[in-house]
């Protein structure tokens, strides 16, 4: 008995010692800033002057008066919807195409994954050149076909779409890989019995593949949803949120306020956190019902 409590105590001491470095870094650089972010959201503060407590005024101002915040929310939702639609379609299509383990498919997977690994802002700059209205590749191709290309990043009606297209190019390989992982988990027998029953490829897709992909689908959708709400780097580099407020999203709004209105930036951060938390909770809840294995 005494022996056991002794080893227990030793275990506990060792455990705390080994957790200590991680705990320090986590608390200092993640949890403490998180708490601060909630706290600063209640103040009016521009870094140099005094903090003035204003309660929920920042939130009231953002939601009721601030046109650029409302536009940011609207843009973020639009960005998210379009991004999800295009990314999921393209990556599911590519997953079905690259699912086999022959050399060609593996090469295809690999190539689709290359954009995922390179720095997003660097490729954002490259795409900015590709989108150039005069000499950019896309518009040169369009005019070679006798058409007239749009102004892309300089057109407030199209800039957000252009930014989404870039992001789809950058990230679809990731979701392709995730979907292939899901496809490989579907038992082969299901396909065999379906083909014995005389089910064609189209029907097999709708009756077997898609329903069996449900857990992966939930997973990919939530990741994509959260990532879309957090979209920032490429937008900042490609348009800076412009023209006007055309591509201002939640995070570009936060970033542009860091230096002159800490309270407002923190309050907006809290809104983003609330959204991410909500998606995570829904995922945890729905995921439980939808999970087939695991």
């Amino acid at each position: 008995m005494l022996q056991m409590t002794k080893t227990r105590k030793k275990d506990a001491i060792e455990a705390y010692a080994m957790l200590l470095p991680a705990a320090i870094l986590l608390i200092l650089f993640m949890l403490w800033p998180m708490i601060n972010s909630v706290y600063y959201g209640l103040f009016k503060w521009n870094l140099v002057g005094d903090k003035v407590f204003v309660g929920l005024d920042n939130f009231r101002f953002m939601f009721l008066q601030d046109k650029s915040f409302q536009r940011a929310l609207f843009n973020t939702v639009g960005y998210t919807v379009l991004n999800m639609l295009l990314t999921l379609t393209l990556s599911l299509g590519c997953a079905l195409l690259f699912e086999k383990t022959n050399k060609l498919s593996v090469a295809g997977r690999c190539i689709a994954f290359i954009p995922v690994v390179v720095p997003i802002t660097v490729m954002g700059m490259v795409w900015k050149m590709i989108y150039e209205p005069q000499f950019g590749i896309i518009n040169q191709a369009v005019s070679a076909l006798g058409g007239q290309g749009p102004q892309w990043l300089y057109d407030s009606n199209i800039a957000l779409v252009a930014v989404v297209i870039f992001n789809v190019w950058k990230e679809f390989g990731l979701y392709t890989i995730i979907f292939i992982g899901g496809l490989h988990k579907i038992p082969k027998e299901l396909y065999e019995s379906a083909s014995i029953d005389g089910s064609g490829p189209w029907r097999t897709f709708w009756t077997i593949t898609l329903p069996m992909l449900r857990p992966i689908m939930y997973f990919a959708t939530t990741i994509l949803l959260i990532n879309s709400f957090k979209a920032f780097d490429h937008i900042w580099v490609m348009t800076g949120g412009g023209p006007g407020n055309a591509t201002t999203t939640l995070v570009t709004y936060i970033y542009s306020k860091v230096f002159d209105n800490v309270g407002l930036a923190s309050a907006a951060s809290f809104v983003l956190f609330a959204i991410v938390l909500l998606i995570t909770l829904i995922k945890a809840h729905v995921g439980k019902d939808g999970e087939v294995d695991a």
Binding site: L26, P33, I111, F113, V117, P119, F273
Partner: protein, 276 residues
């Protein structure tokens, strides 16, 4: 029937080629433009091969900007952050996977919560903290806040838990300490997970923009991706002939790493990331 299969196969190959072209085309444009003078980049008659190809742009960009310093910054920040990250995360993951202690549930929840919090939510207070501590424009400011990853702690914990406990116990009977078990049993048996963690973390830090762009003020302290995004001429035009070689230099290392270590990258997203 035969004919149909051939047709199906060749159409698959065609779609595959198109998809690959879609992924690779921007890289080809980047490479091509990095080799030709500004006037050719902005010329209105399209050409797939570079006109008057030379390495002049690469020489110019090295002359005009501290490219090597930025390259060093990116590499140094990534390497240091990964080393700290792996040491800290391995110990934490091992503890969570193997040792029973009071308060385990609480620590587990803490890591889980931290995993949900996006960087974008905490950058404002984190930046203010750096200002107060005088950490702006320093390597410690660039490195320490990214030297921990709750995602990797969880990912490693998951992988450690798959190693049979009997191996630990056998080693302990042989007189191994906890750290000894970790070194002799756990780590050798989870090489793929460790490789994946290193590679993912490298990818994230190498390509990071938001944090280094806030915490590096002077030109010398920038990392490559941050620096590349600041290239602009007076009057708002872009020096594409300098941006493109810089872009090549920032993407080549990570592409090479990916080509050599693909299985670790891909395993991270199929096994690890899927399990969340």
């Amino acid at each position: 029937m035969r004919k149909k299969t051939v047709l199906l196969h060749s159409s698959k190959v065609l779609i595959l080629l198109l998809a690959s072209l879609f992924s690779l085309f921007p890289f080809l444009i980047m490479l091509k433009s990095s080799l030709e003078p500004y006037t050719s980049i902005v010329s209105l008659d399209f050409h797939m091969l570079p006109q008057n190809p030379s390495l002049n742009n690469y020489i110019d960009v090295c002359k005009n900007y501290p490219i090597l310093r930025w390259f060093f910054n990116s590499s140094f920040v990534a390497a240091t952050a990964i080393v700290i990250n792996m040491v800290v995360d391995i110990f934490a993951a091992y503890t969570l996977a193997r040792i029973e202690y009071p308060g385990k549930k609480a620590t587990n929840t803490m890591v889980l919560c931290a995993q949900i919090v996006p960087v974008q939510v905490i950058v404002v207070p984190l930046y203010l903290m750096m200002v107060q501590w005088n950490w702006v424009d320093t390597y410690r400011g660039l490195i320490l806040p990214v030297a921990i990853s709750p995602f990797i702690i969880f990912f490693l914990k998951q992988s450690f838990m798959q190693i049979p406990r009997a191996l630990d116990e056998a080693a302990m009977i042989d007189g191994c300490s906890r750290v000894g078990v970790l070194r002799n049993v756990i780590l050798p048996n989870s090489m793929p997970a460790l490789g994946t963690s290193v590679v993912l973390k490298f990818m994230w830090i190498w390509g990071d923009y938001m944090w280094p762009s806030l915490v590096s003020k002077s030109t010398e302290m920038r990392t490559l991706p941050v620096a590349v995004a600041t290239f602009q001429r007076a009057g708002g035009t872009y020096p594409w002939e300098l941006i493109m070689p810089a872009a090549v230099l920032s993407s080549i290392p990570i592409i090479l790493l990916f080509l050599f270590l693909q299985k670790y990258f891909i395993a991270g997203f199929t096994d690890g990331a899927v399990k969340g």
